[in-house]
């Protein structure tokens, strides 16, 4: 092999690595280009909501829209608060959210404890039956529940918004799995010491499964915040209306002449607590989400 031939080969090899490098960089550039474009599309509605919410009506309705507001008008938020009666809606939703979360936690903890720690006849059959109900679409229950709450004279009360959804088989399942991971020996030792079940639950099991309980709390609160269909059916009066329903009601357009900046301000107010939850408590939501496939 002559010297010149060798250098030729070497040069070829170097060419390949340079080519590979160029391809690699080009691929990375394309990846980022695609991801950033998609990310912009994904957040654009939020951006549009925020900037529209501080525009004046005149600025919003310009033929060529401004991508950044010329003047920031916070009065839209005051107007939205008044027009949609958001204060009242917020209190109603908070009340329903807090009461139903607390009661739901108690029921879930007790049931999960029974399924995870205690022995009784038909335990496995009962648990399987509960899990089976998760397959049935909720709409199927709604029809009868509507008739039931009507005959119980619960229409337009807070009870109707709280009681029918207190038990969630999914939460019981989630917590039971968590409880099962706590060694049984701890429980038996506590029994020998004469600790009562409730005390054991409170001192050992609840602290050890706090992350799951927090997940349940967040999902339940978000459920109250986002629920629309059931509240609209059974509690659509001023005194008991929940926030999502109230938001939709306040801006139902019949003429097409809605003040959109004010509407966007109302939407932003309703979305804001959800963003806070997202920023600070994301890991708890993701924990529940990835196991359920249930949309909030």
């Amino acid at each position: 092999m002559s010297v010149s031939e060798l250098t030729m080969q070497e040069r070829d090899m170097r060419k390949v690595t340079v080519k590979q490098r160029v391809v690699k960089i080009a691929v990375q550039v394309l990846l980022y280009l695609f991801l950033i474009t998609m990310a912009v599309i994904v957040i654009f509605p939020f951006y549009w909501m925020l900037i529209s919410s501080v525009k004046s009506l005149a600025e919003y309705q310009r033929a060529v829209p401004t991508l950044f507001p010329k003047e920031i008008l916070l009065s839209n938020y005051v107007e939205a608060f008044k027009q949609a009666n958001l204060g009242r809606l917020f209190l109603n939703t908070l009340y329903v959210g807090v009461v139903s979360t607390l009661l739901s936690l108690v029921i879930t903890v007790l049931s999960a404890f029974a399924f995870a720690r205690l022995e009784f006849k038909g335990k496995n059959a009962l648990f399987a039956a509960l899990l089976a109900t998760m397959m049935i679409p909720g709409e199927l229950f709604t029809i009868t529940n509507y008739v039931t709450v009507y005959s119980l004279k619960w229409m337009n009360t807070f009870t109707v918004l709280i009681v029918p959804f207190l038990v969630s088989v999914f939460y019981i399942y989630l917590l039971r799995q968590n409880f099962m991971q706590i060694p049984n020996e701890l429980y038996l030792a506590a029994k020998v010491d004469g600790t009562s079940d409730i005390k054991y639950l409170w001192k050992v099991m609840i602290p050890l499964s706090l992350p799951t309980l927090i997940s349940i709390t967040i999902l339940k609160m978000m459920g109250a915040w986002n629920s629309y269909v059931w509240p609209r059916l059974v509690a659509n009066d001023e005194a008991h209306r929940l926030i999502t329903n109230g938001l939709r009601n306040a801006f139902t357009e019949s003429t097409g002449d809605v003040n959109i900046p004010v509407q966007m301000a109302a939407v932003a107010i309703v979305s804001f607590p959800l963003f806070l939850v997202f920023i600070f408590l994301r890991k708890y939501i993701m924990k529940g989400v990835s196991r359920s496939g249930i949309k909030g």
Binding site: Q28, L35, M38, A39, V42, P45, F46, W48, Q61, R62, A63, V64, P65, L110, S111, A114, F115, L118, E119, F120, M135, I136, E139, L140, F141, T142, I143, N145, Y146, V147, T148, S151, V163, P164, F165, V167, V169, I172, D197, M222, W225, Y228, V229, L233, T244, L247, R248, E253, S254, G256, V267, S271, L274, F278, I285, V289, S290, G293, K295, G296
Partner: protein
């Protein structure tokens, strides 16, 4: 004996859950079947002493009802369009996210953002983005004040504006808006699951492929997709289940009318049909709910069957 002492205790602990489940879950299952089999059943009528005869009339009536077929058509169309689009897009985004290092966490957070939103509230934002403000009667001399940001963007790139959701808008335009909104809404969950799946694939497979000098596209087809197939099956199945229950995203954009002004009910879905009948025609609503359950059940079985054949564990 410890066990026997526990037995009655367990039932006490379970009693609140069982009591509520009996009233709000078990009874509805039984009662829905009962109401669906009583011809033309209405709870008001029943309370007033009317007795209903037994039969499958409700099911027949629902299936012959033009409104129901329209609702079913809308639901199926949205399902067939949104599930594949959102799954493929989510897969693409997840694969790209998995292939980058800087900015990965930030982008991941952005893509998850739509998950925690209120579908009614953000639906109103989408409606505003597609909304045309003006005299809005579709005539020649119509004065448009703002065409909406989406139309502005289209016009910026030299296209012509479209009446997306206002009076006189076309069915296709309405469906396009709904597909965009539903896909936007469905992406975060799918990306989360698929990215989780990708990150759990053993790196050794890729290293082996690299040693063999396998092309990227082949690596994707032969390693990534097969190993990701359980997660893909999962997001497709939950996507179809959610898709058949589509309702509130349409309310978010079009309001309770479920259609553009002037044509209410144009985009109504099966769930919307059930809610419309729920107040006075429980027999019809129950039959429709059971049909919906049947459809979801069959589609899920088909999905499971197909994925069992194609899924590699």
């Amino acid at each position: 004996m410890v066990e026997s002492k526990h037995s009655w205790k367990a039932w006490i602990y379970l009693s609140p859950a069982i009591l509520l489940l009996l009233v709000f879950t078990v009874w509805p299952i039984i009662n829905t079947v009962r109401m669906s089999l009583l011809e033309g059943y209405s709870s008001m009528g029943a309370a007033g002493g009317i007795s209903y005869s037994f039969g499958i009339g409700n099911f027949k009536q629902v299936l012959e009802y033009k409104d129901f077929l329209k609702c079913l058509g809308n639901t199926m169309l949205l399902c067939v369009l949104t599930v594949p689009i959102s799954t493929l897009l989510a897969l693409l985004i997840a694969v790209c996210l998995n292939a980058i290092k800087p900015l990965q966490r930030l982008l991941q957070t952005i893509f998850f953002l739509p998950y925690v939103t209120n579908s009614i509230a953000i639906g109103m934002v989408f409606a505003a983005m597609f909304n045309m403000v003006g005299s809005a009667f579709g005539g020649e001399n119509e004065i448009i004040i703002t065409a909406g940001i989406i139309n502005n963007v289209i016009e910026f790139f030299g296209g012509t504006r479209v009446n997306w959701i206002n009076v006189g808008s076309s069915y296709i335009a309405n469906i396009v808006v709904m597909v965009i909104y539903i896909v936007w809404n469905a992406l975060p969950f799918k990306i989360l699951i698929l990215l989780g799946g990708l990150q759990s694939i053993n790196k050794q497979y890729y290293d082996a492929a690299k040693v063999d000098g396998t092309r990227r596209i082949r690596v994707f087809g032969r390693i990534t997709v097969p190993l990701l197939s359980p997660m893909l099956a999962y997001v497709v199945i939950t996507g179809f289940i959610g898709g058949f229950k589509e309702y509130s995203s349409i309310v978010g954009i079009f309001g309770d009318d479920m259609g553009p002004t002037g044509d209410p009910g144009r985009l109504n879905t099966v769930v919307g049909f059930i809610y419309d009948a729920l107040g006075n025609h429980q027999g019809r609503a129950s039959a429709a709910a059971l049909i919906l359950f049947g459809i979801i059940f069959v589609v899920t079985l088909i999905n499971l069957y197909v994925s069992k054949k194609k899924t590699h564990y």
